[in-house]
Symmetry: C2
Subunit: 763 residues, 2 copies
């Protein structure tokens, strides 16, 4: 991928903003950290981020979509947008940030000048459909704001967002009739038959409402919306473009070709006409996972009337507040990367509750949140590692909401378990483990409160003993998941054992000794996979024998490991790294094996069938989460300079300030959270431990604003390319252990000081 200059785009953005007078309207933007964010990072390559507008943890993400291919070919378009694409097909309102599997792309709008085409058309054939060519030079992206010129229509389109409402402003050419097309057919990870039902309605006051039920990643998902235009329509047409419907019922609104009040079916589209316009058209769209009525209430709650600039200023202010939690010093590129990572780490979980407190649970029923906000979009397999621990540190207020949301979801679960990969309240069962358990445990042990800890522990135990997780029944019986009964048993055993350990930690802290003992025992189950002969953690059969044939380099979906091979999963004992080192054979063997991991020459084609494995350094795959803690493990074996060296290698090869600046899926902020912790000089190798492991900093200074007005400051002397190694670390002036930077010490406030040097500091 050709890297394009983000920084110059940011300058262009500021220039445009100043020229249009919007910098004034956006008020707090000037000088705030939001201006440093480049949402374009990760929109190219495997990052899967989206460039559009949203607010921190917001429910709605209006963003341009360049393509929504069939799910067989959709991986690159998981965020709806791929940087190298030549056209935009429209602006839909729901997007995941950096997911490795996807859905959404709901309520697609496309402003059109002149003739209206009803199909998106072929990107390779300009004007074959309603999609439009665009140039990156016309794009402006900053947190809560996106703009682009749709060249085929000469339309300037801007987007901003509130928590539940997306705001559009379209400037049409004055000499052509203006239209807005609403296409309720396509969605991300599409396929024929995915839309189960759609209803659409234009109310007497002009409000357009509807709901669509799809059969995607979360089967049977219904999303409703309410939309208003700032100008009256001159005409409208509502279509159901289905063919071959055996039974259409009786003629009436929605089934009469001439009625333009309601429409329903499985291929609903609408065109709203505005005639020739001399000024901008604004559109506001609220969504609700519950009902049209709630969508209207959401729309009403976030701003009557029409003031796109004010809403843009609100969004910018929200981001400046959120991003101000850390003051980071560094080069311009470092600041861009750091604040973009912080931005990306604050996009999920997303609000999934209407203004009246209604939310949809995993049972598909409507529930009322009392005293908390219900958040969903849980990529737990990813975010338990660093993104959620980061929020527990920076935003314990949000962490409380997240934990309460997890408990609420468990209580509404048809099978009584915590979320795995869920969004809009619904479960997808994607990925392995019960990693909501370490999310809660880590938050609790990090001092996050404001939730019912007993209910939380109940939910955790219910999950950690439920047969719905891949053969947990045999795991409990045998101490490992047998590969003859359950695919990916090798990694599942390891993940369960870690999750169990985190549960035990919380039970122990709560004084629940019996629970703690039971799960402390299970935490050692990783040992059941150790094969001294090959030196790997391996899947066993029900008989106890190891699964053969065994190739430690082999990886495939449904193999012995989840999105990985034996090399990558050898390190997955975060709860007991010393035990792992001893098992492998002591520090020297451990370090040698780590070096082999990073230094083996590996052909990336090796993983061509496992698209999530990317960002290779040897077998190390930074583009996927199982590797994320590995570089820090040298510390445990007494070779911190090797951790420091690998971190530099990763930071330099796997991140940059360009559209392809993420070497793998951002995975709802996990890959960005890794960057943030690492840049600050420490990382949560074992969430739930209360400890961070120290690596090396990449910023000269960072000030974390903690609750209660405290600050925790990281400073680094002599930090530059020529001084990549840590000479010394002190906490409040005292020498600091590299393996136990205690969360509690950070919370007290204080100063972590690094002195860097040119050479490795060997013992």
């Amino acid at each position: 991928m050709k890297r394009l200059p983000i920084v110059s785009c940011l300058s262009a953005m500021l220039a445009v903003a100043l020229a249009s007078g919007r910098a004034q309207a956006a008020g707090e933007t000037a000088g705030g950290p939001a201006a440093l964010v480049a949402p374009r990072i990760g929109t190219g390559g495997p990052g899967h981020t989206f460039p559009g507008a949203t607010v921190p943890f917001g429910m709605i993400q209006p963003s341009p979509d360049t393509a929504m291919p069939d799910f067989h070919h959709a991986y690159d378009w998981a965020g709806g947008y791929q940087y190298n694409d030549p056209t935009i097909m429209g602006f839909s309102h729901t997007h995941f940030s950096g997911a490795g599997h996807s859905d959404l792309g709901d309520v697609l709008l496309m402003p059109i000048s002149g003739d209206v085409r009803m199909e998106p058309g072929d990107p390779a054939k300009p004007q074959s459909g309603y999609r439009s060519r665009f140039r990156h030079a016309t794009e402006i992206e900053h947190p809560g704001y996106y703009a682009v010129t749709l060249d085929d229509y000469a339309i300037r389109a801007e987007l901003t967002a509130g928590p539940r409402v997306g705001w559009h402003r379209y400037m049409f050419p004055a000499d052509k009739p203006a239209h807005v097309l609403l296409d309720l057919r396509p969605s991300i990870y599409d396929y024929p038959g995915k839309v189960l039902w759609t209803r659409l309605r234009v109310r007497a006051d002009g409000t357009v409402t509807g709901c669509r039920t799809t059969r995607g990643w979360a089967p049977g998902r219904t999303l409703c919306f309410a939309m208003r235009f700032s100008r009256p329509t001159t005409a409208r047409m509502l279509y159901n473009r289905e063919t071959n419907v055996p039974y259409r019922g009786f003629r009436g609104p929605g089934n009469a070709p001439t009625d333009q009040t309601v429409q329903n079916g499985r291929a609903v589209e609408a065109v709203f006409d505005f005639g020739k316009l001399n000024g901008p058209l604004e559109v506001k769209v609220a969504i609700s996972p519950v009902s049209e009525t709630n969508a209207i209430a959401n729309l009403d709650a976030e701003g009557q009337g029409w003031d796109f600039d004010a809403r843009h200023a609100d969004a910018t202010a929200a981001w400046n507040r959120a991003l101000s939690v850390i003051e980071a010093s560094g080069t311009p590129d470092q600041q861009t990367q750091f604040y973009t990572a912080l931005y990306h780490a604050m996009l999920a979980p997303t609000l999934s509750m209407d203004t009246n407190g209604d939310y949809r649970g995993p049972d598909q029923e409507i529930h009322k949140a009392r005293g908390f906000g219900f958040y969903s979009t849980w990529s737990t397999w990813d975010v338990y590692r660093a993104q959620q621990p980061l929020m527990a540190l920076l935003r314990p207020d949000m962490s409380t909401q997240f934990v309460r949301s997890l408990i609420a979801a468990q209580q509404a679960s048809p099978v009584g378990v915590l979320p795995v990969w869920s969004y809009q309240g619904l479960e997808t069962w994607c990925m392995t483990g019960y990693h909501a358990v370490p999310i809660i445990a880590d938050a609790y042990l990090a001092g996050v409160r404001g939730f019912d800890a007993d209910a939380a522990l109940n939910a955790m135990v219910a999950s950690a003993t439920s047969p719905v997780y891949g053969d947990l029944t045999d795991y409990i019986k045998l101490g490992y998941v047998p590969i003859d009964k359950e695919a990916e048993a090798g990694s599942k055993t390891l993940e369960y054992a870690y999750d169990d350990w985190s549960l035990a930690r919380m039970a122990r802290a709560m004084g629940k000794t019996h629970i703690a003992e039971e799960f402390e025992k299970r935490a050692g189950n990783w040992r059941n996979e150790w094969d001294p002969k090959t030196g790997f953690l391996r899947a066993r059969l029900s008989t106890g024998a190891f699964h053969t044939p065994f190739d430690p380099t082999a990886a495939a979906y449904g193999s012995d490991y989840t999105e990985g091979n034996a090399w990558q999963y050898l390190w997955f004992v975060p709860q007991d790294v010393p035990g792992l080192i001893a098992t492998i054979g002591g520090n020297a063997t451990f370090i040698a094996k780590l070096d082999e991991l990073f230094d083996t020459k590996v052909d990336p084609a090796q993983f061509k069938n496992v698209e999530d494995i990317s960002g290779l350094i040897g077998w190390y795959a930074h583009g996927n989460e199982p590797s994320h803690h590995i570089a820090y493990l040298y510390d445990y074996a007494g070779a911190p300079w090797k951790t420091q060296q690998r971190l530099r290698q990763i930071m330099e090869s796997q991140y940059n300030a360009h559209p392809d600046g993420l070497a793998g899926n951002d995975d709802l902020g996990q890959t960005s959270a890794w960057y943030l912790f690492t840049a600050l000089g420490f990382y949560p190798v074992a969430p739930g431990s209360n400890d961070y492991t120290i690596g090396r900093p990449f910023l000269s200074k960072a000030v974390i604003h903690l609750p209660h007005g405290r600050t925790f400051t990281m400073t680094a002397d002599h930090l530059d390319a020529d001084h990549p190694y840590v000479a010394s670390v002190t906490l409040n002036g005292k020498p600091q252990d590299l393996l136990h930077l205690r969360h509690a010490d950070i919370l007290k406030g204080g100063a972590l000081h690094f002195v860097m040097q040119a050479q490795p500091k060997q013992p």
Copy 2:
């Protein structure tokens, strides 16, 4: 159709009830009018009634289904059951009574002993599927109770119902494993793809819940349910039997072949195993148009624990209370026919509201009923004629609820209009006119109160001026519906004019002079269709010219008239019969033309493409509603003896006490209501007029119990087959006008006395 002896079946029923000791349990049954009802009437031929269990205006109708064919071939199975069928495929929980188009058949249960087959199988091939042969001799039907023996399984199955809960009791053979199959795939008026989505869940306490969304008569209809068994299951299997699903998402409960907790998809089935049983298994099923949560609440509200006999006694008591509104004397067959008609006239509108007041509106959104019960199942084109006027007379308390429900539906309508043909809150747009208007007007003028009359009038005016009704726009402009713009314009003009008249009547009574004047003018629009040349009311083109070619005998769906020809619609001016007589040419011409209507020799094959037109006497078609008032029109032309003669002709040829005892669809009680009024000696020719037209009685005595403890008694002297003509009629001893038996006079209580004679009483 071979007529089977109902009376002997009733005797058998009483014998069985006594033998089993259930007469004791059913308590109030003995001697009550419920015992006189034969729900089997209308289950054969075109009646389309169902034989199952329900309570007055109840939400749920558990009933046996003999077949659910593709909608192309489903007309005969609109009630799910056809008397001549040899097998029962199961017991579903929702049925229309006597509809001419259909849907429903939700939540189909089949008890099975021994091996389980998963497909219903071919009725012609015994044991090719799960359906079972049965014999009518084993059937017992009475209001609120149904029983049958499933011969292929040797299972005795009984059904009863509360307002929202259906109760089953199955006696399995002791030597074979007992199962209950739940098939969520089929429905009445089926077709491939009709089921849009189904979810199914077994909760920790064993409660089975789910929702199904179908694309049938009311598109996108969701019905939820909650079910409990009186015994624990020994095993269960939940299936989604879809094939060719392009995308199935990730493995998890509902997508794992081994999980038996949740299931979803478009072809969901489940089998519940109970092992060998020595006593009965009871099953209770609640439905909700809103949610599983509400279905559970409905289930809880109608009886904890297990006491089928008590629930049966409750249902019987409810029917005895409801049917006691009239004490009818007559022959056993007359009593059976009369009370069965009264039973059929009290099956709709049906409750469509959960115990917490939630209901689904025509906007598909959830609303809360405050201070009233929300009722749906509105076949307005049919029931405005006699069934709703009968309820306004007998059950003004229910009429209040019905009118409030109509207003609530209008207020929630996406297009702001009153129901046309709606059920479970949703609109189908089936049939013509805005006949909720005369329903409300008639109730208001009949003295029904307890609703907001201004809101009602607003709803009526909104409907009578809405462009959503077939070309009402041109009707308002031109004074008729032009046939070049709108099919069936000939009858639509006539229906609109009548509806307009009823609206004017209510407006006039409310002192809304401007509205009254506007609609009084529109009430005369029938005159715009008069063609003096042919002597018929004919459709015109927009130009004003009559539509040609014209054949007064022609009838086809989408022709000039709705389910009728020019002969049948010539009489549709109920609001101004004197005006029609004058227009046709005076009494003699009018009578001659009426005679021609009845006496012409007509080949029923004439209407083979319009299946609703049945019950022919000449061109007169008692099997369809447009004819229902016609026999009474002789009265207006000074020939009451001809009315009396035709009524006898109709009563004797169109009704009997056998399964084929209805000559046409019962249409949610309209055909039965005609029978009831006619048997009592009077009929509402023009609902909204406040007047009944007197025909002749068919009962020797009937006492109507009115509100406030008053009674209105009809007696007939010399009533027998040899005295079919009225000699005299007196009201409270005074001679009574045949055209103006005032509703108000009935409400006062009193005595209507007929003296019959052998010969016509000519002037």
